[in-house]
Amino acid sequence: MPKDDGIGASTKRREDIRFLTGKGRYTADINLRDQAIAVFVRSEVAHGRINSIDTAAAAAMPGVLAIMTGADFASVGGNPAGWYVASRDGATMKEPKRPVLAHGKVRHVGDAYAVVVAETLEQAKDAAAAIEADITELPAIVNMADAVANADNRVHDEIENNVCFDWGWIEDNRAAVDAAFASAPHVTTLELVNNRLVPNAMEPRASIGDYDPGTQDYKLYTTSQNPHLTRLLIAAFVLGIPENKLTVIAPDVGGGFGSKIYHYGEEAAVLAASKALNRPVKWVAERSESFLSDAHGRDHVTKIQLALEKDGTFLALRTETMANVGAYLSNFATVTPTFLHGTLMAGPYKTPLVYVNVKAVFTNTAPVDAYRGAGRPEATFSIERVVDMAADELEIDKVEIRRKNLIGADQFPYTTPVGLVYDIGNYQATLDKLIELGDLAGFEKRASESKARGKLRGLGLSTWIEACGIAPSALVGALGARVGLFDAATVRVNATGSISVMTGAHSHGQGHETVFAQVVAERLGIPATSIDIVHGDTSKIPFGMGSYGSRSLAVAGSAMVKAVDKIIAKGKKIAAHMLEASENDIVFEDGKFSVTGTDKAKTFGEIAFSAYVPHNYPLETLEPGLEESAFYDPANFTYPAGAYACEVEVDAETGQVTVASFTCADDFGNVMNPMIVEGQVHGGVGQGIGQALLENTSYDENGQLLTASYMDYAMPRTTDVPFYTVDHSCVTACTHNPLGVKGCGEAGAIGSPPAVVNAVVDALQRGGYTHVKHIDMPVSPSRVWSAING
C-alpha cells in the first residue's frame, strides 16, 4: 500500500480547502488600490466595415478616464498563430493580423472594437453605451461550405475563398490510399459534424493590468493556463514590453479546458490602459461575453471513408474535413485540426494506409481553438463512428471488428501511417477489462428489462488512443510549431528542510498542488505536508509552457523529478562531506543519506540545514545551498489509450436519450493519485456526454449566436450523467519519462462521444429503426425523434 501522501495514494486535494470554503483567490477577487474598471464595446453585427467611432460624448460622461479603439493599437503587433501549417500544394498559411481591438472591420458578434475605462463599472457601461460606431454591415459568412465557395465575400479582404490552408497528411500517401480504395472489397462512407462547443469554464475570463510608473514594470493578473506563453506573446509580438519588465500572474483559475491557454486582446488592452492612466485597470468578463468571445471548440464537418476486407480487416482510411477557425487565428487554431487531429487518424488500429485532408476556413464567428482533447476527440469520433457503421454493413460484431484490427501488444513501438510512433500499449487488455467490468455479456438481459419498461436499450463502444503530454520540441518544431514544448521546475530546499517546488505547469482545477507534492515526497522520503507547489507567477517560476494537452505530469512532472534528482545528487555531496566518506559510497533511501555498509547517516533535514549553515564547507568543491532547476523535453508524445462502453435507453415516443451506464477501462501508465485520475475521467466523460447529447453552438445566417446563454446552451447536469465505472488497472508504463506516466486529463472527453452516439444508433437499430445510420451531435430528443420518423 502506498503511504498516505506518496505516489499511488488517493491523497485528498489540499487546494480544496480554499476552494470549498470560498477562500480561493481568483483574478476577480483581486482589487488593487486606485483600480479603474474596463468595459469592452463589442460588435453586434457579425461582419461590418468600421467607418468611424465617435467617442466624444462617451468621453465626457461622469467617471470616464479613457477610451481606446482599434486605431490606438494600429501600430502594435498582432496576436500570432503558434503553429505554421502549409497547404498541400506548398502554398503558405494565410495569417491575417489579429489586432488587440478590431480595426477597419469587425468580424464576429462580440469582436471588441473599443474599451472604456472609468472609475466604476456602471460608469464604464454607461459610457460604452454612448459610443457611436458607424459600421456598414456586410453579409455574414457563417457556413463553411459557403465561405469556401464564395470568392467575393471575405472575412479578411486579402484572403481568397476564406481558406487558411488546405492540408494533406501525409500528402505522399494520397495516391496509395486512393488506390487501396479503388480495389477494396468494401467501402463505408460517413458524413458527420463534430459540433461546435462553448468552453464554459466556471470562472469567466478576467484581467488586471498594473503599470508601475516608478519602476516602469508591468504586472498582468489574468485567467491563464499558460502565464509564460502569455508573457512571451505580449512581449515579443503584441506590445513589445521587454519580458523582464512584465510579470504575468495567473492566480487561482476556475477551469480552462483550453480556452485560457491563449492570449486575448483584453489582456493587452488593460496593460496599455494602465500605462496610459498610471492606474491599475481591471476587466471581468460577464458570462455573455464568455459565450461571444472565448475561443470555441471543435466545429468540423467531415467525410470519412473506411476501406475493408469483407472479413472486417481495415485496408485504408481517408477523410476530408472542413475545420472552422472563426474570424481570427487563435494561438493554437492551426495545430488543433491538423497535427492534433490528422496524426491521430490511425487510432489504435493497424490500418496500413491513412490520408487526411483538412481545410481550415475563416468565418464570421468567434475564433475556434483547442478545447479539452483538441483535435483528438474529432479524430476519435470520426474513426469510432465509421468503424461501427462498417461493422453494421458487414454484419460483424462491434467488439470483434475492433479486436481484429487493434495493434497487437507485441507490435510496440508501432509506427503509424500518419507520422507517430506509439511507444507502448496493450489495447486488447483494456478491451478485455471493459468487457468484464461493463458486463457486456449481460447486455441482452438488461435490454429486455429496458424493453419491459418501454425503452430501447443500446450499447456503444469506443476504443480510443490519444497523443498527449505535448510534446517533444524537436518533433513539434519539425511539424511547424513556433514554440518549444518543454517544461521546467525549480526545487528549493529551505534551511529547515521544507521545500518549495516552482513548476512551469499551471493548475486550474487539476490538483497539481497535491499530486506534485506526492511525487516529490515519495522521491525524497519526506512528508508531503512539508512541500509546497508554486505555480502561475512568472516572477517566481521557471519558464514553462503551462497546462493543456494532458502534459502537466508527463512533462512538467518529469522536469520536477529531474530537479529532485539533482537535489539528491547535491545532497550526496553534502552528506559525503559531513560523513567524511566518498560521494560514491553515499546512498539515499527513505529520506536518509547513509554511508553504504555502515550505520553512519544524516537525515534529509540535517543535510538541508547544513547546506545553509556551511561553516566548514570545502568551497572549491562544494557550493552552499540546496536548490536545483531542471528543464525537460520529452522524447515523444505519450499515448494513453482505453476502451469505453456506454449504454443508453431511448424513449422512442419522445426521442429522449438517457445514459444508463458508462464504463471506462483506461491505460494511463503509472498512476500517481487514483482519486484525482478518476475525477479527471468523470469530468472528461461528463463533457463528452455534454457534447454528444446536449451542447449545441448555433449561429444564425446573420452570424448572431443563438445559443448565447444557458437558456439555450445546454450544459450537462448531474442528472444527465450516470454513476461511472472507471478502471485504470491496465498499465503499460510510458517508456520515455521517469514516472512512466501518460496523462489523463483529456481522455474522457476524447473517448466518450462516439460511445454515446454508437449506443444511440445501436438502440434504434435494435428497436427496428434500421434506417437510422447516424445522428449528428448533439443527439437531442428532437433529432432522435426526427431520425426515427424521418
Binding site: T654, M711, N789
Partner: protein
C-alpha cells in the same frame, strides 16, 4: 442594471397606489425581471415589491378550492398544496431549481405568461380564477398570447383560486438547456368534464386542446387519444425542437398525463 427606487408596500391598497406612479413596475420574485434589468434590457424607475403583503402569501382551502396568494413562492406551493392538489404541487416543485423555487412566485409567473412557463397550464386546465387588485378574471379570459394577459396597467394579481379536480397530472418535457417546458401538458378531470392545457409548445402561448378534452371527457384513458393529432402549424419551431416534434410531444405527454392522473 440602472438605478431605480424601491418600495415595499404592506397592503394591496398601498401597492395599488404605488403602481400609479410613472415608470412603476411590480416586482414579485424577480426571476425574470431582475435578470432583464441586469442586462439593461429593462429600466423601471420604481420597483414595487409585492412580497411584503401578508394577504398575498400562503396556500389555504377556500370557497373555490385551493386559494394561493400571488406572492407565494413555488417551494411553498410545492410543500403546502401537496395534500390538497398533488398535481399542482408537483408542477411547482419542478420549476427551475431550488433557488428559483424559493424566490419565484405563482403570481409573477402567471402575470408574465412566458409561453414555456409551467403555471399557466395549471391555471388554465384547472379553470382557475385569477384575482387582481381590481377584479376576478376567469382563466379562459386571462391568457391572451405570448407574454400577453388580461392584466391592465397598474393591475396586479393578488390570488389564484384553483378548483380541485377529481384527478389531475402535469407532465413536462424539459427544454434541455433552460429546463422550461419544451412542451408540457396539464390534464384535470372534473365531474363535468376534462380540461387539457398545453404550455411550451404553441406560438400562441398556453392553450386548451379541445379535441382531447372532448375525447377524454367521454373516456378518460390514454387510448381515447389514439385517433387525435395536434396541428403542427401552430407549434413553435426552434433550436430545441421542430413544430412537428412539439406536436408529437403534446399528444404523447397528454397520454402520459392521463395515465398518471
Amino acid at each position: 442594471m440602472y438605478n431605480f427606487e424601491f418600495v415595499k408596500p404592506a397592503s394591496i391598497a398601498e401597492a395599488t397606489a404605488a403602481l400609479e406612479s410613472d415608470g412603476a413596475q411590480a416586482l414579485s420574485g424577480g426571476q425574470t425581471l431582475l435578470p432583464t434589468m441586469k442586462q439593461r434590457l429593462a429600466a423601471p424607475d420604481v420597483l414595487v415589491s409585492l412580497t411584503g403583503i401578508a394577504e398575498m402569501q400562503g396556500v389555504c382551502l377556500g370557497d373555490v378550492g385551493l386559494h394561493i396568494g400571488a406572492a407565494t413562492p413555488h417551494a411553498v406551493v410545492a410543500r403546502e398544496a401537496a395534500a390538497h392538489y398533488p398535481a399542482l404541487a408537483k408542477l411547482a416543485g419542478g420549476i427551475g431549481d431550488p433557488a428559483v423555487r424559493n424566490r419565484g412566485t405563482i403570481g409573477g409567473s402567471v402575470a408574465n405568461n412566458d409561453p414555456a412557463a409551467c403555471y399557466p397550464s395549471a391555471v388554465l386546465a384547472s379553470g382557475a380564477t385569477v384575482v387582481t387588485n381590481r377584479r376576478r378574471i376567469a382563466a379562459d379570459d386571462y391568457f391572451q398570447g405570448l407574454f400577453t394577459t388580461a392584466l391592465e396597467e397598474g393591475e396586479f394579481i393578488t390570488q389564484v383560486l384553483f378548483p380541485i379536480p377529481q384527478k389531475a397530472a402535469y407532465v413536462k418535457f424539459n427544454q434541455p438547456a433552460s429546463r422550461f417546458a419544451l412542451a408540457a401538458v396539464f390534464v384535470a378531470k372534473f365531474a363535468d368534464g376534462v380540461r387539457v392545457a398545453v404550455t411550451g409548445a404553441s406560438n400562441g402561448g398556453v392553450f386548451r386542446w379541445a379535441e382531447a378534452e372532448a375525447a377524454l371527457s367521454a373516456n378518460f384513458s390514454a387510448d381515447a387519444l389514439a385517433g387525435l393529432s395536434v396541428d403542427a402549424d401552430d407549434m413553435i419551431s426552434d433550436l430545441h425542437g421542430t413544430a412537428a416534434y412539439r406536436a408529437n410531444l403534446v399528444k404523447v405527454l397528454t397520454g402520459r398525463a392521463v395515465s398518471a392522473a
